[in-house]
Subunit: 458 residues, 2 copies
């Protein structure tokens, strides 16, 4: 089909929603390093993980050989509620930039959780229900994951306990109300409801919280409450597996119009959206079938890829979770309080970490005022007010498109628009008032944080 | 096609976005009564309206003969940003209710303005730009119209001054930030920036504002500022004309699957969404081609159809606007402060008023706690957190579906889901906390308000 026939929004048919997730680990020569038991420093077994995670999710976590895993019918049904998501040709943005580049974005924000997080939330809730559990616990940073999980748990009639990073809890009271509307309970973290929360509060009375703290609290409650398990919205292999629906749909939509992307861009906090978006394309690259340039975009205030170490680290502040080998800033790292939105996790998906380490993808860090400039420009021309997280990808997509304008190259750029910013208006207000600031951690601060890395010799 | 093949979401192709609006007045035997000049009590001419409205919009306002009016290409292009909107088969809701009824909803919330209002905003901004104006003024209640107009003005590089009903301004600070992100200025109404605002504040110092006040202020600024005109998000004939895209798309989507609705339901404040949704179906009814049952749903706290008078009334509190013949509670009517969300206008679209008066449609009023019960139920099973306004339609759609459950009838119900409730979490919080209350105006209160109706003998 001629390229000028490409519509503004490419919707797949409902029958084209993927029926299998793609597991990129199957095609990786260098597999991501295994999770380690913090006590023995040996790889975590299924039995080690069983008190924390649901059984079938552990299978998925440890499975690095099967390339495709069936999506259960109940999850496929739920996906029909909000999927397929549109792949949008950014004609308006291209015109505003005057670029010869062709820009597409996969938009995951057209659901009430406001982001891609629902893709994994419904899967994790399903397996929890199937196992006969009463409920699950989790943490949430910007609130997108907590909202998604609340929706998923409500659907399967599961109890849902959310620990929300305190700074987000305070900046986003309305996020809490959405979660409550879906029947979840929401506690600001660190809290006095857990032993670990109390300890953290004693050591750092003024802390605004971090994902690392909230994870520790959620895991403590899950492992101390009968019929509960802990679920996580990013970082883990299982989450990237579920999020592969994003990339599978995007690839199918592009192939309908014979479009092959040159550059694929995604924001990266824990890596779930980026990993999901690039997985099937990365598979082709790993199998030598096609080449693509992948760019992970992270905040300059929380630069795990670009300034972190590739090392085993604790996944949480309380050090109750397994150790993961990943790009990390150290589990004590907390982004400065002026950092808006999510993407504030100290570590990074072990899958993406390995791929980055092996030179299969690039990473870039951007400052938040530049991110909000891109967000505002995008909102005005494309008519979608983006989440701060997603706007990191927009920033670099615009930068790459402007490079094409200079060189005259007609590159095809695809980026992940993970969600909407309707609950981020405090950050937009700061930007609109001209009082948003940037902060980049100093080398000394990072060194101090790296000093807390565990000593692991394998 | 067999009915069980109907997908969850019916998307038209981009090429199926309507290229003409449908003007239901052309098929009405009893035309809506003309707007009257408040000084002469004679029908407003084009010249009378020119200081207030854009020229081409006046043509549309006065045109009750042409059944179809071309949508300019620039507006068609903008529509591609967020249209066609999905017609959703509410399989999840049907299952939860256990009803044999088949429920569909036309969802207009998948755009950053969060509602259908963008359909008319972009048209009005286009004609203002075409006329070479510098900017427009308007009022907004719940904030959806103001947001939509901000987006539209940003697209055409027009200045946008929004007067926002004070109670909404205070309940929804984030709405203001979205409008500012799109470059609009937002003033809480009544304000001291206009003569009329000052007068109203003197007479009612503690007022939380009303659409009627905000309209007066916006009109004053438009008529006193060079290169500005006033635009309105509902009530007017031109707005219903633009909103006919909703009904045209819904009808085309249903016809693809040979579905004929029995009942069509919409919430009604000023009538723009309901009028737009039902227009092409009403056309068939007026021409004797098909019959449908139409139900307008309004808040019991602001019951223009069900308890109002069909009479000429002022459109605004300051009495600067033309008189319209409509169902009205009197221009001094202000809903009680506990009323959440929009649907708070004292009057109703003259087109819908005439149709209702002629027995061509029904109306029902519902109390807000029952509305939020329906909203929460809907959010949990359909995965969309609805706007309070839209939830009025959900309430009656559920009621009708439950009647079918009793009788065993397999009726087909279509309702308008006009928008999302992401900026209405203060109201949801009240409901979640169990402190939301209902208020129904007493007959005495209404009589007092009716006493302010102008005496017009024609």
């Amino acid at each position: 089909m001629a390229e000028n026939k490409i519509p503004y929004k490419i919707y797949l048919d409902e029958s084209e929603i993927p029926t299998q997730w793609y597991n990129v680990r199957a095609d990786m020569k260098n597999k991501p390093a295994p999770l380690l038991n913090p006590a023995t420093l040996k790889p975590m077994t299924h039995a080690d993980l069983a008190p924390v995670f649901c059984d079938e999710l552990i299978d998925q976590e440890l499975n690095d050989t099967d390339a495709y895993i069936d999506i259960p019918e109940e999850i496929q049904n739920f996906y029909k509620m909000y999927r397929p998501s549109p792949l949008v040709r950014a004609y308006f943005l291209e015109k505003a930039l005057g670029t010869p580049a062709k820009i597409y974005y996969k938009f995951e924000g057209n659901n009430t959780s406001g982001s891609h997080k629902l893709n994994s939330a419904i899967a994790q809730a399903y397996y929890a229900k199937k196992q006969g559990l009463k409920g699950v616990t989790t943490e949430t940073g910007a609130g997108q994951w907590g909202t998604a999980l609340s929706m998923a748990c409500s659907y399967f009639d599961l109890d849902c306990k959310v620990f929300m990073v305190k700074v987000s809890y305070e900046q986003k009271p309305f996020r809490r109300e959405v979660m409550r509307t879906y029947g979840a309970s929401v506690t600001p973290s660190p809290s006095t409801t857990t032993e670990i929360g109390k300890k953290i509060l004693e050591a750092h009375p003024g802390t605004t919280g971090s994902l690392g703290c909230a994870i520790s609290e959620a895991v403590e409650v899950a492992t101390h409450t009968d019929g509960y398990r802990y679920v996580l919205g990013s970082v883990l292999n299982q989450v990237l597996l579920h999020q592969s629906v994003i990339g599978l749909e995007a690839k199918a939509a592009l192939e309908k119009y014979n479009v092959k992307p040159d550059i694929i861009i995604g924001c990266a906090g824990g890596g779930s959206n980026l990993g999901g978006l690039i997985s099937p394309f990365m598979g082709e690259k790993l199998r030598g079938e096609n080449d693509y340039k992948f760019i992970a975009v992270e905040p300059a205030s929380c630069p795990s890829f670009t300034r972190g170490k590739f090392a085993y680290d604790f996944c949480d502040t309380g050090k109750v979770c397994p150790l993961a080998k990943m790009y990390t800033l150290g589990s004590n790292f907390i982004p400065s309080a002026n950092h808006a939105g999510g993407l504030r996790y100290h570590g990074m998906s072990p899958i993406l970490s390995q791929l980055y380490h092996d030179g299969l993808m690039e990473a870039r860090s951007v400052e938040q005022t530049a991110v909000f400039e891109a967000a505002t420009q995008f909102a005005r021309v494309e008519g979608i007010l983006p989440a701060p997280e997603s706007s990191h990808a927009i920033r670099v997509a615009i930068d790459e498109a402007l490079k094409c304008k200079e060189t005259g190259e007609e590159k095809t750029i695809v980026f992940g628009l993970t969600g909407t910013g309707y609950f981020d208006m405090v950050a937009y207000e700061k930007f609109n008032d001209g009082v948003m600031s940037d902060y980049i951690p100093t080398d000394e601060e990072l060194e101090q944080s790296f000093a807390g890395l565990p000593k692991v010799d394998l």
